[in-house]
């Protein structure tokens, strides 16, 4: 591994920290919250609020894995 690669890797290790993961989740949920608010405000079928393809609502326990996201274009 080159020195450039090595220094990059050290810098990226922090990405997997608990703190950083929670930060990324927070940013993701801020992006999703506008759509969630719309769905709730318009009384759309509640299930849709949390179901946009692979982005599904969950409790912190009882998570199942949903095979998704490989898609296939239109």
């Amino acid at each position: 591994m080159s020195a450039q690669n090595s220094s990059y890797r050290q810098a990226s290790d922090g990405l997997y920290s608990e703190e950083n993961l929670n930060k990324l989740v927070g940013l993701y949920n801020k992006a999703k919250s506008a759509g969630d608010q719309l769905a709730v405000a318009s009384a759309t079928n509640a299930i849709h609020t949390y179901l946009e393809g692979e982005a599904l609502a969950a409790e912190s326990f009882e998570l199942q894995e949903v095979a998704a996201a490989t898609g296939g274009s239109k």
């Binding site: 769905a39 318009s42 179901l51 393809g53 609502a57 009882e62 199942q64 949903v66 898609g71 239109k74």
Partner: protein, 481 residues
Amino acid sequence: MKVGAASAAPSSLLRAGDRSVATGDSPPHDLLRNELIGQTVARAAALSPFYRRLYEQAGIDPAAIRHVRDLEPLPTVEKEQLRLAGREAQCWEPDTRVSHVQHTTGTTGNVFFTYRSVAETQFIRDFFSRANAARAVDDGTPTPIMLQIQVPYHGTAMPIPAKVFVLPFAVNEEQLVDYAIMLLRKEFDLPGVDSRASILSGDQTQIRAFTDYVLQRGFEPRTEFTIRLINLQGRHLTSRWRTILEETWGAHVTDRFSVSEVLGGAASCPFCAGYHFDPYVVPEVVDARGEVVHGEGTGSLVLTALFPFVQLQPMIRYRSGDLFAVREDACYAPRFEFQGRALHALYDAGDSRELLLTGVDVVDVLDALPDVNRMVESNDLTHARYNQATGGPRAHGVRRRTGGHEELTLSVELTFNAPLYAQHVAGLERRIREALLHRSSRLAARVAAGTTRLRIEFVAPGSLSALERGTPLWSDAPETA
């Protein structure tokens, strides 16, 4: 053009362009993207010789990319470039191990394989466990049961944790279809889980086939089953099929746009009837001059997958080959409208910025007509007598230019021999022509001015190939004086 529910949203929430709700300089949909874009580009340049050379040749310092708007000077890349570059376009580290192999369908003959590492799969699992848990409403509602079609058109799907109880099903043989119907009728008694299935999810082709099948067998899904949501992936959802699915199942229909090469896509929006892209992928629309469309416009879709969601195979400013219209202030996030494959679009012969007809224009018009012959995709189910519920229309267009005039001929294959039903066919010709002109004011103006003639030609069964993703819809005949 997609159709969907009219907006029922409070106008105060429809402020995508309002940066007052954003943190710093980023609207909410760009927060995660701006957080990760710098690392995404820097890592690709550090670990992938292909991307490093690409940016060196363009004179771009990867460290200068800190915001999604900084992406614009970076060269776009196409599938064939990445395929030829092979491992040089990937980011291998000494301990990289592959967990998932995914691929395109290869309709053009060149399958593109995408490899996902153990590290990125683990990250996706950890991320969505937390993200979906954080978004849950703790209202005591039981976990919904979802029937999911799992067909490996694109390799091994990524596992994403969610609050849903998954039951797999398939429709490629009679016994499996009966199994699916049995699951739809089954009343479960499981702690914390709904008693009956309420979600159908998976590949659109298979769900169309399943819907056609239950209707042919005389079921009444709306009253016999309890499906409330249908979640579709793959191919363009026409307005006719959206209506069929909604009315047959009595369910809300959502569909997703995505490409197998890129993790992350777009979900259809019930408020604006367009698509909104996932926060972990960066969408751009690039016009015929190669410039990013800001505000409103139509062009080619360019996607950037973000690290650490994607690690082994970076996709930075990747041209998907799809055409989209974008309007940034149309909903709570920029609204994207699928316009079909770029290969299926018809542009002005002398000006590639002048879009005359999109692939979606042609497909949507022909999809509404039972006279149009379609590709047969499955023929082995005993109880399914009709076998054209899923296939695409058989059609091809030719442009002929003579002097200052042009003639567009759209050949459409029918399920019967046209001369035997001359009166019916005359009405059909009018209907197709008027519908196409209604969808394109630019083409309609040219036809009205007499500079362009639009002809609809009908051909007998077996004359044309089905419209494929990888082949053009229109071709140019040699120009005559």
